[in-house]
């Protein structure tokens, strides 16, 4: 396991005392905490190098441009993209998906074309497609779940066909923890010549993601879920796919030549980055990637496997706790409910133990409908969590059951 005590020293927030208790943060799937290396990278940028990027011929502007473009290079290497031209910085994963849905969809979707998603998509990989379907007349199709919360692979074969014009799906479900066989589905999509996008928001922070090996056409993730700051996300796209897309937003920085009645756009990736970018966000993300690399994806994955396994074991022992999603081979999170207790109440009681845990639909209401629950409690892990954290979680759950004993 990782040396959690040592790692925690890098994260100032763990000095916080919540309700008299040490903070135990179990909501990394919503957003992760930030190491001082990331916080300082941002501060230092503002203290020493701040200037707008591109088109400045003075020292600071040259520095900030180099730092910003270097962050792009670091992001490219992190997912093994063959070129930084494939990396577009966005606000978050959500914007990256909207960008593709709009720039690709408005250009290429026709009425009755089919967009193939799954039943387990985050709202961010569902609503943009609902909106574009309405605009273009395309139709949404969904791959359904089997009773274990995995994709029904027979259903994929039924749903993909010559009308399918785009596939987009999540690699690791933020709600069930399911790990999808994306490589298989990418291959399948390509046999039908269909472009495919991977929502890697919950996978890139935790496991090795290699876009060349996957051969996906697009892939997205968010900085704030991988130790980086808010306000920065990444769209990876194969160069020829990005080239084929018109710009999403218009504005400064994304143009070459502008006249009142026409404009000539810059090459990728800048064509998709209108206006002053989140420079400090990109620099913070680069620092986060360096931090993750210094720990090592293999080690992270191993550490989280141990935590997740332990959490499931302990939760299983408690009467009246129902766990959702596949029990084996899952991402570093566990969603569950305590019989007769609303998740919101669980979260309030756990907060008294210093445990920050999410209660809600986790932006996956279709999964709640499928589970037939209004909401779940979700514990999600990262490099700063230890087995002790899970012990406290378990104690909190037991206390919750005690408080609500009269109800069950």
């Amino acid at each position: 396991m990782l040396d959690v005590a040592k790692i925690k020293e890098d994260f100032p927030i763990f000095q916080r005392i919540i309700k008299g208790k040490n903070l135990i943060y179990l909501d990394s799937a919503a957003t992760t905490q930030k190491p001082k290396q990331v916080i300082e990278a941002i501060s230092n940028y503002y203290k020493y190098n701040n200037a707008n990027v591109h088109r400045g011929a003075y020292t600071l502007s040259e520095e900030s441009t180099a730092m910003y473009e270097n962050a792009r290079q670091i992001a490219a290497e992190f997912i093994n993209a063959s070129s930084s031209r494939s990396i577009v910085f966005t606000r978050n994963a959500t914007e990256a998906i909207n960008l593709v849905a709009n720039a690709w969809g408005l250009e290429y979707f026709k009425p009755n074309d089919e967009i193939l998603l799954t039943q387990m998509e985050h709202h961010s990989n569902l609503i943009p497609w609902q909106l574009i379907a309405k605009k273009t007349g395309a139709k949404l199709k969904f791959i359904y779940l089997d009773q274990n919360g995995k994709l029904d692979l027979r259903d994929i074969n039924d749903k993909i066909n010559k009308n399918t014009k785009f596939v987009s799906l999540v690699q690791i479900s933020n709600s069930l923890g399911t790990i999808n066989p994306v490589k298989y589905i990418i291959k399948l999509a390509h046999t039908y010549n269909v472009p495919i996008m991977i929502d890697a928001t919950q996978s890139v922070p935790h496991t090795n993601v290699d876009v060349q090996e996957l051969d996906c056409d697009f892939l997205v993730f968010s900085g704030h879920k991988m130790l980086g700051p808010t306000g920065i996300g990444v769209l990876y796209g194969k160069e020829d796919f990005l080239d084929k897309m018109p710009p999403y937003m218009g504005g400064g920085e994304m143009i070459n030549e502008v006249h009142l009645d026409w404009a000539d756009y810059r090459s990728i990736p800048w064509k998709f980055e209108a206006g002053t970018p989140n420079i400090s966000g990109a620099i913070g993300l680069a620092a986060a990637i360096k931090y993750i690399n210094s720990i090592g994806k293999k080690n992270i994955e191993q550490h989280e496997k141990t935590l997740t396994k332990f959490a499931i074991e302990e939760l299983t022992k408690i009467d009246g706790v129902e766990i959702y999603g596949p029990l084996d081979d899952r991402g570093p999170l566990v969603a569950f409910n305590i019989k007769n207790v609303h998740p919101h109440d669980v979260s309030t009681i756990l907060d008294e133990f210093g445990v920050a845990i999410r209660a809600g639909h986790h932006c996956t209401q279709p999964i709640m409908q499928w589970l037939n629950v209004p909401a779940t409690v979700r514990a999600s892990f990262y490099i700063y969590n230890s087995l002790d954290d899970i012990d406290v979680l378990i104690r909190g759950i037991k206390k919750t059951k005690e408080i609500f004993a009269s109800v069950s």
Binding site: H342, T348, E352, A359, P374, S406, V407
Partner: protein, 148 residues
């Protein structure tokens, strides 16, 4: 004030077996409420005659706080005039946000005082007020319709 006080016996009893759950056909007052911050929702139905709330029921799903609050509220306002109810809602809002103290030795407020614990959990205030806000909206709509 600890979390045990939040989940007092009275709150949990109402949560376990909420009063006045159900629908009313052809209600004079109907309103839907939604707590954007946690997703709880509620529907309130009431029969009004001579400006008096003769019957009231609710349907909802949600946490112990929102459900018990709705249960107690519906108990307490039955038989009150609309003006009395509006005043009561106003008062409740002041208590639950900590602006005023919950009255002691008041029979009417005896059960509701069980929600006192919420004051120390600001994020839960919205849960406790959901039913009250929703009813308030329903009365407003009803009165506007009357005017026309």
């Amino acid at each position: 004030m600890s979390v045990e006080d939040l989940y007092s016996e009275i709150v949990l009893e109402h949560y376990k077996e909420p009063h006045n759950v159900g629908e009313i056909e052809y209600p004079e007052i109907f309103a839907k409420g939604f707590n954007e911050s946690c997703g709880d929702d509620i529907k309130i139905f009431a029969k009004v005659k001579n400006n008096i709330i003769e019957d009231i029921k609710f349907l909802g799903k949600g946490c112990a706080i929102s459900q018990s609050s709705a249960s107690m509220m519906t108990d307490l306002i039955k038989g009150k005039t609309l003006d009395e109810v509006k005043e009561f809602i106003k008062n409740f809002n002041k208590k639950i946000t900590g602006e005023e103290e919950f009255p002691e030795n008041s029979e009417e407020w005896f059960e509701l005082s069980a929600l006192k614990g919420v004051i120390k959990f600001p994020i839960r205030v919205k849960c406790a007020s959901l039913a009250w806000h929703t009813l308030s909206q329903g009365i407003k709509d009803f009165e506007n319709k009357q005017k026309k």
